[in-house]
């Protein structure tokens, strides 16, 4: 213990003695550790977060899949079949996901919550019970809820504490949800939520089965998401195999052959995995790998610095050895110094991680749905501590070994290192710099590929204008307009007031702005017969939007044929729809003239109110910038009435308001919020953004990864330059005598500079060779995230190589100048 304290004291004294050197080492390590800690914080929150359920690894989601891909839900009858026949699942529960939210009505204000309807066995399936009150009463079929609980509600801990102040007498109290009375029967434990990862506070309603649950019919029977618990000896794969067999039988129960094709297969997936797409997991793994690379570069850099210092401390080490210090003790001293430096760096690294994560918080919310606090927690601190120890071992290994192996007498006699030792250290240091260059190049190539992707994405013609457009997402309090026309009582007054705000040129309402990803509706056709056209049209799946005519003025898109909605399209006029070119292609076939679809009857606003196509929009990238335009059909909001079959879904759930204005967005948003609050207080809780930001956010993974890699690659380049500079400065200092001899023998300034540049060029070329090979293979990992550029793009490889060569040569300019200025007389006096 005393010895350790002595080592620590000595290490601290060394740091104090050479503050600039220590600051350089700490700064370098802090970058590497900070980057890794930041990425680990993200990975911890996204991938490693423990789910608040008992044995969460046994929970699986079950989705029917088929011709049109994965369905979002299944009818109760199918779920019932699975649970009755399955031997791999202990329990299957279901819920109707409430993606659109509800309003919990208070005396003065309403608060948006998520209010999924759940089966009676959901909480037992998750292994969680209310901490206060009771669960929903189970019906005879063990999944349904008794009708008595139709108006019962269970609160989450967050709602109970934040909205009802943790009232212990809450049980039995009647509260209002979307204007309907519910009796509170339970409160769930703190930290529990379901579905996992939502931003809104949650309350749970009962999924009471009705007569529509007794049939399998599209647009009639309610659809539920299913979650099951594997038996102790079952696996996801065994459940998948078993349920696939069951599903083949279930599919046969569908009388409509087309609906049968949509449910022909099944997909069982771990619930934890289902919360995160495969792509995102892969991306996070890549970014964590990139952070690890940066950390490794930092370690290599610091090893180099410590090796240089150990050369200067050879006499000191020899003296200690001569006075009786054993090899182990000498090595331990170097390790202690490395550990102290790493520990201080870890402290700063933690701060860097916090800043980095805060900097990327917007992307983390939009991309990974992380709404929790991003302060590095205990698991991050523990991981960082382990990494710090490893850093100390890696960075002090070579200096410690060199110190332990050094011969004492020559060092004491000659007062400088032996030629052989110096040469081997020099070779080791060169190899370390080569490694740094290679790793930096790999990071730079990855970053450049993603930057090129973002550049390509930014230059995709979207088909609409995004400048000067502000968008507000609103959850519509439709319960307040029951029996009234929401169009005339909410939307029209809102739109008129917004249009009259100063600086506003036009304003429009639509269920979802292009690239909005807030409220997606899909339109499908059900033509009869087996003609080629009928088959083609049955496969057509189109984006469905309800919009106001002003949308064209806001987004300024072009029409390919016909016209867009205008003020003459009202509830009293002929019902009309607009489609886009992609829709025409899918509907009519590739070679048809778009104008041919005009006048075609497409859907009905209400019974006996069929709509005709009046216009064809030019294609837009409305779903994703990277994807081609998807088929789309738009209906006109002013034509909808409460009697319309589309009324509730098109007008009563979500609505975006898009405003084109020549004003500072910040002040306009304040006014917009005020107007919306005055029209209906619930609307004020909407999210505001600019259309440009929405487009930026839509780049998603690539944007996030590019920004992270920009930071990592920038740091790597900096460390690489510092590494080359440090090594060459050291070499010039080491070779002062040699340079003096060369000058005395006739070498000119240019000869000496060339000597230093040649040294750098050798390291750069070797580093580039290895780095390009590494980048060639590692960039393949990014293939799925690239757009408009190939993983092994030769231009990117060449540009990054040139950047590194130029940076590397710039880094050696100063040492080269210093070398050329060596005074031969001074140099030769070293003898």
């Amino acid at each position: 213990m005393t010895r350790l304290a002595q080592h620590l004291r000595y290490a601290l004294r060394q740091i104090k003695k050479s503050l600039a050197f220590s600051a350089l080492v700490i700064g370098t390590l802090a970058l590497g550790l900070g980057a890794t800690a930041a990425m680990f914080t993200i990975v911890d929150r996204v991938m490693l977060r423990p789910l608040p359920y008992e044995k969460a690894d046994q929970l699986v989601t079950i989705h029917e899949t088929g011709r049109r891909g994965q369905l979002n839900g299944s009818p109760f009858l199918d779920i019932q079949q699975w649970i009755e026949r399955s031997h791999t699942l202990d329990e299957i529960a279901f819920y109707s996901p409430d993606n659109h939210g509800a309003f919990l009505n208070g005396k003065t204000a309403s608060i948006q919550v998520a209010a999924p309807g759940i089966s009676a066995n959901l909480f037992p399936t998750l292994g969680v019970q209310p901490v206060m009150g009771r669960d929903f009463s189970t019906s005879a079929n063990r999944m349904g809820v008794l009708p008595d609980d139709k108006n019962s509600i269970i609160l989450s801990d967050v709602v109970w504490r934040n909205i009802y102040g943790g009232d212990r007498n809450i049980l039995g109290r009647t509260i209002s949800l979307n204007g309907e009375p519910y009796v509170v029967i339970g409160v769930m434990p703190r930290g529990f939520t379901f579905p996992f990862g939502g931003a809104k506070p949650v309350v749970w309603r009962a999924a009471v089965l009705g007569k529509n649950d007794a049939v399998r019919k599209k647009h009639v029977s309610p659809w539920y998401a299913a979650i099951g618990r594997l038996k102790a000896n079952a696996t996801v794969a065994s459940a998948q195999t078993e349920l696939q067999g069951i599903q083949s039988e279930v599919a046969k129960l569908y009388t409509d052959p087309y609906e049968r094709e949509d449910v022909s297969t099944i997909q069982v997936q771990s619930y934890a995995d289902s919360l995160l797409g495969t792509d995102l997991k892969k991306l996070l793994a890549i970014l964590l790998g990139a952070a690890a690379l940066l950390w490794l570069i930092a370690c290599v850099n610091v090893t180099n610095l410590l090796l240089a210092r150990s050369t200067n401390r050879e006499r000191e080490v020899a003296l200690c050895a001569a006075l009786g210090a054993g090899r182990g003790r000498l090595a331990l001293q170097f390790f202690t110094e490395g550990l102290v430096l790493s520990a201080i760096a870890a402290f700063f690294g933690l701060a860097i991680a916090r800043i980095t994560v805060t900097f990327f918080s917007h992307a983390l919310v939009t991309r990974f749905n992380i709404h929790t606090d991003l302060t590095p927690n205990l698991s991050v601190v523990l991981a960082l501590s382990g990494l710090t120890l490893l850093t100390a071992v890696i960075s002090s290994l070579l200096p410690a070994t060199a110190a332990a192996r050094a011969s004492i007498q020559p060092l004491l006699n000659q007062q400088s290192s032996q030629a052989g030792t110096a040469k081997s250290k020099h070779r080791t240091r060169s190899l370390l710099v080569v490694t740094e260059i290679a790793l930096s190049l790999t990071l730079l190539v990855g970053c450049s590929l993603l930057l090129r992707t973002i550049y390509q994405l930014r230059h995709v013609p979207l088909g609409f204008r995004t400048d000067h457009v502000i968008v507000a997402n609103m959850t519509v309090p439709s319960y307040k307009f029951t029996g009234r026309d929401i169009q005339t009582e909410l939307y029209q007054p809102l739109l008129e007031r917004v249009q009259h705000l100063p600086g506003v040129k036009s304003a429009a309402l639509m269920t979802e702005v292009p690239l909005g990803k807030t409220f997606s509706m899909v339109f499908t056709l059900m033509p009869q017969g087996n003609t080629a056209a009928a088959v083609r049209q049955r496969n057509l799946s189109a984006q469905f939007r309800a919009v106001t005519p002003e949308m064209q003025q806001v987004f300024r898109f072009r029409m390919r044929a016909g016209r867009f909605f205008n003020e003459h399209d009202t509830a009293a006029s002929q019902a009309v729809v607009v489609v886009n070119s992609a829709f025409v292609k899918a509907f009519l076939g590739d070679d048809e003239d778009p104008a041919k679809i005009l006048g075609h009857q497409m859907l009905s606003y209400a019974k006996d109110r069929p709509a005709i196509v009046i216009g064809v929009l030019d294609d837009q990238h409305q779903v994703s910038v990277a994807e081609q335009s998807q088929p789309e059909i738009e209906i006109c909001i002013p034509q909808l009435t409460p009697t319309s079959s589309l009324y509730q879904s098109a007008e009563g759930i979500k609505m975006d308001i898009a405003v084109r204005a020549q004003r500072n967005p910040a002040t306009l948003i304040l006014e917009l919020r005020r107007v919306m609050q005055e029209v209906s207080p619930e609307l004020a809780a909407g999210n505001f953004s600019t259309m440009d930001q929405i487009v930026e956010d839509s780049y998603g993974s690539q944007q996030f990864a590019a920004r992270i890699l920009e930071v990592f690659a920038g740091c790597a380049l900096l460390l690489c330059i510092a590494g080359i500079y440090g090594l060459l400065s050291y070499l010039v200092a080491q070779r002062t005598k040699e340079l003096g001899v060369r000058i005395a023998l006739g070498a000119e300034r240019k000869n000496i500079m060339w000597l230093v540049f040649r040294q750098a060029a050798w390291m750069l070329l070797a580093g580039l060779g290895i780095g390009l090979t590494l980048a060639y293979f590692s960039s393949v990992l990014l293939r799925g995230f690239l757009f408009g550029v190939q993983p092994q793009d030769p231009w990117i490889m060449a540009s990054v190589s040139i950047l590194l060569i130029v940076s590397g040569l710039a880094a050696c300019a100063l040492p080269a100048r210093r070398a050329a200025k060596v005074d031969p007389m001074v140099a030769l006096r070293y003898e």
């Binding site: 030629a419 052989g420 040469k423 005598k737 040699e738 001899v741 060369r742 000058i743 005395a744 023998l745 006739g746 070498a747 000119e748 000869n751 031969p824 007389m825 030769l828 003898e831």
Partner: protein, 236 residues
């Protein structure tokens, strides 16, 4: 061949200006073998550095074959030295990472000499100094005497008219020292002007003229017994 007029050299120190060479006037004729002697700190090596044109910070006049070196820029002086002067060091100053052949070739590599011609010159030097068998060895594999032989071969490879040697046998055994001095004598006989710095009377005996320095002043010159040093004048 060389004329030094009132050469002075000083360093600025914390205590003030420290003089290492004072009013040196010296004329060196072609073919002479001069020995510079004097106690430590007398300015011998400083004078050699001035003669080698390695030093830039002296005052006075330096004429090399009618060329005014004192009026030349650093680069021109370097060119002049490169063509005409070879230097042998006490510690040999061979480059550890280069072989014997490469060390000898080093001065040639800084001149615009075609590679083939360089190879021929190096081969001649190796032959002349009987180092052919050792051409691929590194300095650390040679004895001190052999290393100094390589140092001399390197100094004369480009056939300089003036060879400067700073304590060339200082690190050698007496028998090795004798060999080296014989070699110098041989070179001198072939026409090379030699200026050596030494403490050894035996080595000085190989020379044709001895100059004594003390405290930076030239105090005697065997070629000019009537020489009265500046120091004596100042002391009077």
């Amino acid at each position: 061949m060389i004329q030094l007029k009132n050469i002075e050299r000083s360093y600025k120190t914390a205590a003030g200006q420290s003089w290492v060479l004072r009013r040196i006037n010296l004329e060196i004729e072609q073919g002479e073998f001069i020995t510079i002697m004097g106690p430590s700190g007398a300015g011998k090596s400083s004078l050699l550095n001035v003669l080698a044109l390695l030093d830039d910070a002296w005052q006075g006049e330096y004429w090399f074959r009618e060329e005014a070196a004192h009026q030349m820029k650093r680069k021109q002086r370097g060119e002049l030295a490169k063509k005409n002067i070879g230097v042998v060091f006490q510690s040999y100053h061979l480059l550890d990472d280069l072989t014997v052949r490469e060390n000898i070739d080093l001065p040639l590599s800084y001149k615009d000499i075609p590679n083939k011609q360089r190879q021929g010159m190096v081969a001649d030097a190796l032959d002349r100094f009987q180092m052919v068998a050792k051409k691929d060895l590194f300095p650390s594999q040679l004895s001190g005497g052999q290393q100094q032989l390589v140092g001399i071969a390197r100094a004369v490879i480009h056939k300089p008219s003036l060879l400067l040697a700073d304590e060339p046998t200082g690190n050698l055994h007496s028998s090795q020292a004798k060999e080296i001095m014989e070699l110098f004598l041989e070179l001198n006989k072939q026409g090379t002007t030699i200026v050596q710095v030494t403490h050894s009377e035996a080595n000085a005996a190989y020379g044709s003229r001895t100059i004594q320095l003390r405290d930076g002043w030239m105090v005697s010159d065997t070629a000019h017994p009537e020489f009265v040093s500046g120091a004596a004048v100042v002391n009077q």
